[in-house]
Symmetry: C2
Subunit: 403 residues, 2 copies
């Protein structure tokens, strides 16, 4: 078997953990498998490097930031190869230049385009464990790029696809994918299986186990993922096309506090107003999520929408700049004390009562719903941030997810 | 003008110093020059990385060590480019992969073979300052290599040669090349000029300003070097083929405490004995320096030689292993409490009295000479370590080098 194993920063944060990971990989190796290991930077090293950069130049170019950040994973892989070597197993570390991990041009948020596998295959054929830097790539200018949040997961999935790996294991500090965040909902249950689509909704909703891009890529190339703990040997959660489990209505509850609600009041009620509004935001790369358009009252209308909190200021500035010119609105307000609670489940689309059941549970718990948005396999509601935990627990209970 | 400027680790050890270097380079840039900057890792970063490696695997492979160490310079160059950028001057950092700095295969002590200059020239033509990682290269396996001690100096000289630079400035924490180490000989004087050959002798004798390999390369390609301080704007020392100064008998006095004397007593006096002895040492990559072979006494002879202190143990083990077999000697002893004092000067070879004058000065100072070795432009003596400073001062005075 060819196995790709990905370990995050906390799993390689110090000597002891590096050796833990090394032993884990060596076990697979000694069972006759070919092993490719993808690593992130150690512990908080990426943040340390970002702070160094900020201290030198708060507006450092993304090109130079990527040049700086990529040293983080290179450090991890070199140390890991040394650790494996000291345990008697030949290992070789490789960075994005050595692999030739080709990405798009954009610094800080590049996308993988193509991975050369020749050298990796040679090293594997020579019975070496190959330890590869996650998160980084090289663009057509021969510059380092980084893949953005969760980039190492994407590296692992892309490598698994390119190498036609038999397994792709994403190691994390939790046991797998849960029906809800166990810190929020104490009786949350670990799922044995979940579909790509459910995982995608959960990831984008702030479940935080796997990043969207890696799941999208896994789905596209049919790479079956296993999300499991680096701290114990429990089975983890398999992410795949079709869940073999009895089709559950709802697989999990996700909460997301990185949300701010922006309201634009007193907009003219004529065609193109909403278009202009969101065009302005798009021009500033602001991603808009839940959108609510009010019915007309007295010739004007209101539009509310959510953005991530770190984009709220930019969004408000953008709107205010156009408030008296192209936009013509009376008032803009922002509320950062909101949070999103969502239920996700592949069984949802064929069952009309799911949303109603969720709203009922929230009503019973005394939680007011500020906004609603839905997709085929998801229902999200916006609530006041202070109610987010009890809302999640109420919904989790209503769908009996702990059982 | 195209100027290559090299700054060592202490010159970029923190934010303040990084900006000092950035400003210094920008001055040249604003005067219309093309500027290439070569940097070492920040402060003691290389030692920090070596300690990390040692902690994980005391016998880490050189290949993985180089993979780890090369992150040091990449960090410096990225931060430097950010600093220049924040001062309003466009800069771009490049590592050994991006330059394509080709070296021999050997890890930890590779030699530069060829440097691609196309991208550097393009960046310079676009009026960018190009900031390049010193000390590192890439071998034919597409692996990182490092160039050994003083490697960043070599990178700078090689770049100056490849780019046909008009100047190559090596910045250090002293004002230039001195007639002796000012910490040892307080009235030592800074030299305005020195020849490559003199510099080579001084470097190999522990003067510590420039490493041999960089001077050899400068000589080979006719790259005129300037050694100067990064802390002030004084003129520094020019290293070139032919010194324009009146030919001084002696240019400087060097001391070297990294010396151990090994004596092999009671060797058979027959052909091939010395050859065997030094062959054994060469097989273990031990460099032998001053050699003294005694006259025969009672059918046997003694051989004394010096090695660097860190190689003394290995040398003794090697000798003892062969003492009763191929070597047949009575006794081996090692003395690490010795030091070497040398005078260097291109004028020396045509003047017979130089060595005698040195010995007289040492005699007057009451310093016993343990061994002597000479080259065309150098006389070295081995003395007891405790006398090394007064020996250097006495010789410095005898040749009136302070004037």
């Amino acid at each position: 078997m060819l196995i790709v194993k990905k370990f995050g920063g906390t799993s390689v944060a110090n000597k002891e953990r590096i050796f833990n990971v090394a032993k884990r990989c060596i076990e697979d190796y000694k069972n006759g498998n070919q092993v490719v290991v993808v690593l992130s930077a150690m512990g908080k090293q990426t943040d340390v490097l970002l702070d160094m950069a900020k201290d030198i130049n708060p507006k450092a170019s993304r090109r130079e930031l990527d040049m700086l950040l990529t040293t983080g994973e290179q450090t991890s892989v070199a140390l890991m190869a040394m650790a494996m070597d000291s345990l008697g197993v030949p290992a070789v570390s490789m960075n994005a230049f050595q692999v030739q991990m080709h990405t798009t041009e954009v610094y800080g948020n590049a996308r993988l385009k193509r991975i050369d596998t020749e050298r990796i295959r040679n090293e594997l054929d020579n019975r070496r464990i190959v330890v590869i830097t996650g998160f980084q790539g090289v663009n057509k200018f021969d510059d380092y790029t980084t893949l953005g949040r969760g980039g190492s997961d994407t590296t692992a999935v892309a490598l698994a696809a390119a190498l036609h790996a038999d397994a792709c294991e994403i190691y994390t500090d939790v046991d797998g994918v849960f029906t809800a965040d166990p810190r929020v909902v104490p009786n949350a249950r670990k799922l044995d299986e979940i579909t790509y689509d459910e995982m995608l909704e959960l990831a984008s909703l702030g479940a935080g186990v796997l990043h969207n891009r890696s799941v999208e890529m896994a789905k596209k190339y049919g790479v079956q993922l296993v999300v499991r703990s680096s701290l114990n040997t429990s089975e983890g959660t398999v992410v795949k096309e079709e869940s073999k489990m009895e089709k559950m209505l709802v697989s999990g509850v996700a909460t997301d506090k990185n949300v701010a609600q922006i309201s634009v009041e007193g907009l003219e009620n004529k065609p193109g107003v909403a278009f202009k509004l969101f065009q302005h935001l798009a021009n500033h790369n602001i991603n808009v999520d839940m959108i609510l358009q009010s019915v007309e009252h007295g010739g004007t209308q209101d539009i509310s929408f959510t953005v991530t909190r770190d984009q709220a200021d930019t969004a408000m500035e953008t709107l205010d700049r156009h408030a008296n010119t192209s936009l013509k609105c009376e008032k803009t307000t922002v509320n950062a004390n909101v949070a999103k609670v969502s239920i996700v489940g592949a069984g949802m689309m064929s069952n009309a009562g799911v949303a109603a059941k969720m709203f009922e549970a929230l009503y019973d718990a005394g939680v007011n719903i500020l906004q609603i948005s839905t997709s085929e396999i998801r229902v999200s509601v916006l609530v006041e941030e202070k109610f987010v935990n009890e809302a999640a627990q109420a919904v989790h209970d209503a769908f009996a997810l702990a059982n």
